[in-house]
């Protein structure tokens, strides 16, 4: 089960911060989340939203293993 984390405005939009979701690829995970919540699905693909797998920012699709931490990072506010 991948551990999915949402931050900032994405967490408010979704109404959750953390979930475990079984998915072999990031693209499949995105599709599952969009199927459940179309508004969230669109926001996850929105401008400036980055994805980190185990705390490393990735671009495009990537395989997930049972313990991958998937973090969706909306545009950062700075401190």
């Amino acid at each position: 089960m991948a551990r999915v984390l949402l931050f900032g405005p994405l967490r408010d939009l979704a109404g959750w911060r953390e979930r475990e979701i079984d998915s072999p690829f990031l693209s499949v995970l995105r599709a599952r989340l969009a199927e459940e919540d179309a508004v969230l699905g669109a926001a996850l693909g929105g401008p400036g939203v980055q994805v980190a797998l185990d705390q490393v920012v990735v671009r495009g699709d990537a395989p997930l293993n049972a313990r991958t931490e998937v973090a969706f990072l909306p545009p950062m506010s700075g401190g």
């Binding site: 931050f7 405005p9 408010d12 705390q55 909306p74 950062m76 700075g78 401190g79």
Partner: protein, 146 residues
């Protein structure tokens, strides 16, 4: 070094500690950022980090500052969680052989922290809550270093 803290901190105590037992440091520059009330529009700031990731990203920028300005030491302390107006949010201290490097490195690190550091910031006030993004000025300030 970068540390995140949920607790209020005392900038004076941090500076005293940072300056202790130095014999080759000729200059220490510091910056302390305080939370503003915005004339009553902000009652609380809420700052969220991604533990581990946020520190690692800031640490990369500290590494760049060390090389670029030839620093001898750096400390960044940043609040997370709920912060009320008047409380310090961020403290940056830079140590160098001479003053110019210490001043410039402190400025450089603050421009990065204000525009790029992985924090998500929400303002709470009498009119509700809103997420904050860096201003055009924040981005322009960072561009000065490229």
């Amino acid at each position: 070094m970068i540390r995140l803290t949920f607790e209020p901190f005392d900038p004076g105590a941090l500076l005293t500690e940072f300056c202790r037992d130095r014999t080759e440091v000729g200059a220490v520059a510091t910056f302390t950022g305080l939370a503003r009330a915005e004339a009553g529009a902000t009652t609380t700031l809420e700052l969220e980090a991604y533990p581990g990731f946020t520190e690692a990203e800031i640490d990369k920028m500290i590494g760049r500052a060390r090389v670029r300005f030839g620093l001898l030491d750096v400390l960044v302390l940043h609040r997370v969680g709920r912060i009320v107006p008047g409380e310090p949010i961020v403290f940056v201290a830079t140590a160098a052989g001479h003053r110019r490097a210490a001043f410039e490195a402190c400025d450089f690190l603050m421009d990065y922290l204000k525009s790029r550091a992985p924090f998500w910031k929400k303002e709470h006030g009498p009119d509700g809550e809103r997420w904050i993004e860096p201003t055009a000025q924040d981005h322009a300030d960072r561009e000065r270093w490229t």
